[in-house]
Amino acid sequence: MTMEKKEKMIEVKDVCFVYPGNSENKSVTALSDINLHINKGEFVGIIGHNGSGKSTLSKLLNAIIFPTAGDVIINGLNPKDHEHLWDIRQTAGMVFQNPDNQLVATIVEEDVAFGPENLGVPSLEIRERVDRALATVDMQAYAHQKPHQLSGGQKQRIAIAGILAMEPECIIFDEPTAMLDPSGRREVMETIRKLNQEKNMTIIHITHYMSEIINADRIIVLDAGKIVMEGTPVEIFKNVSALKKIGLDVPQMTELAYELRKEGMNIKDSILSIDEMVDALCQ
């Protein structure tokens, strides 16, 4: 486990990304001087305000777009060599925000099969992979359903199964819970955590909800196309005022602790969850 953790899954070196302009619009620099690495098996949360460049970063990580300058290395492969493109997309799968707009097929199991079919996997093996992927996200019972009959959370789990069937080493989640109701959000987060803990899969989770990443190994904070903070959840959420300044929230309990401390109560600044808060208050 510790050996594996040191292996690099993703390396981003001096990356800039500029959306080219045209006669009507100026070009927009979405990312500048990004340097980061993500180890195998790590759960990394990426947070940032709207327009901070987090979606752009996520698209760079599985070669949907290419950096204007610098290099992105995914599992040792550089997407600049176009022959590696499909290997990269297979290694680093991506789950998008809108559950409706990423399901291709009209039947759940056919949708899960879409990825491996594209990879040219033999028919029998696709069948096995699909069954396994559906079992992992706990959706076997829905294999023959139509996607539009499922709830948002279920659709998103099918999207995850579709990526799992490609047998990636890393999954990038681009705000997968943004369009879901609280129960759908919980389902998806449980699935993501399970993938990280039981399958030791590298997870990059981009989100607006701070409570989803309090268990992450590391959090990266983006603002205006730059990495402004990086560290463990405790290290990051300590900086309540700095986060608020760039338009971000902190987990509810961290905020409560912050307010209590402001009122002169002696309470530690590393509280993230309700349990920790209860412990701190009962002391």
Partner: protein, 273 residues
């Protein structure tokens, strides 16, 4: 209104008809449509009705569900019937002011109505019993035999299956937009046809914008899942022609031959031959 459209929907019941090879179904639905326009007496349509009833019963699809499909097209059927009824020259059997109903008109109108109804029922049984994936796979296979189209077989079937996938999504969206516009005071129910058509613009524009956005996101998601056209692509389910399919093929063939034979019956039923 939108819920009444049953063409293109899939209704799984697990019946033998559902398990039939899609290629057989496509082939014989096509033959069936051709036959509908070749049948020249009511015996033929009676036989067609029997076949459709038998197939529906075997498919376990509720009859009400199939009838709902006809309901959506009642207007077109009525229009065709009325036009044929009054516009066909021949022996006058009844007059309604300046309008004459002729024996020939009655015959043509009846045949047209039956053809349209059977056409809708026949094709909807095919789509109701065939999962869209099977349907497009079957079509992809059939297209391989059509010159020129052959090169685009995969792309066309992918387009078709995506269209089918998004019909319910876009319908839900249409209903949501309609509700939103109604809440803003839009009126879709009253006024002249032109006024009502104009009132649809505030529905169509947001619908199109969102459809384009969906298409863009879907394309990105497909690329992220390594989609690169039909080359080197494998399929989870491959179409295999089993013994069961041979049996159903022969049964279907017999039905079509039966329909062809009815065209030779010379005993008049209601209408003179």
């Amino acid at each position: 209104m939108l819920k009444d459209v049953t063409i293109g929907q899939y209704y799984p019941t697990g019946s033998v008809i559902h398990k039939m090879d899609p290629r057989t179904k496509i082939l014989f639905t096509t033959a069936f449509i051709v036959m509908l326009f070749c049948i020249n007496n009511l015996w033929g349509y009676l036989a067609t009705l029997l076949i459709l009833v038998a197939v529906t019963l075997v498919s376990k699809i509720p009859v009400s569900y199939i009838i709902r499909g006809i309901k959506g097209l009642v207007l077109i059927i009525l229009l065709t019937v009325t036009l044929n009824l009054f516009m066909t020259p021949g022996t006058v059997i009844a007059s309604l002011g300046p309008l004459n109903i002729t024996m020939e008109g009655l015959k043509v109108a009846t045949y047209m109505a039956l053809r349209l109804i059977f056409l809708i029922v026949g094709t909807s049984i095919m789509t109701l019993t065939t999962s869209p994936i099977d349907l497009t796979d079957g079509m992809e296979w059939c297209m391989r035999f059509i010159p020129f189209v052959r090169r685009y077989a995969h792309e066309l079937s992918m387009m078709m299956s995506i269209a089918l996938r998004f019909i319910p999504t876009l319908m839900e969206e249409t209903e949501r937009i309609m509700k939103a516009q109604k809440a803003r005071g839009a009126n879709f129910e009253t006024g002249s046809i032109i006024a009502r058509a104009k009132n649809l613009i505030p529905i169509l524009i947001p619908l199109f914008i969102s459809a384009f956005r969906r298409a863009d996101e879907l394309a990105t998601a497909m690329e992220a899942r390594c989609y690169r056209g039909g080359e080197n692509r494998t399929r989870m389910k491959q179409l295999v022609f089993e013994n069961r399919d041979r049996v159903s093929f022969v049964l279907m063939l017999m039905m079509i031959i039966g329909l062809i034979l009815t065209t030779m019956i010379k005993i008049p039923l209601l209408f003179p031959v």
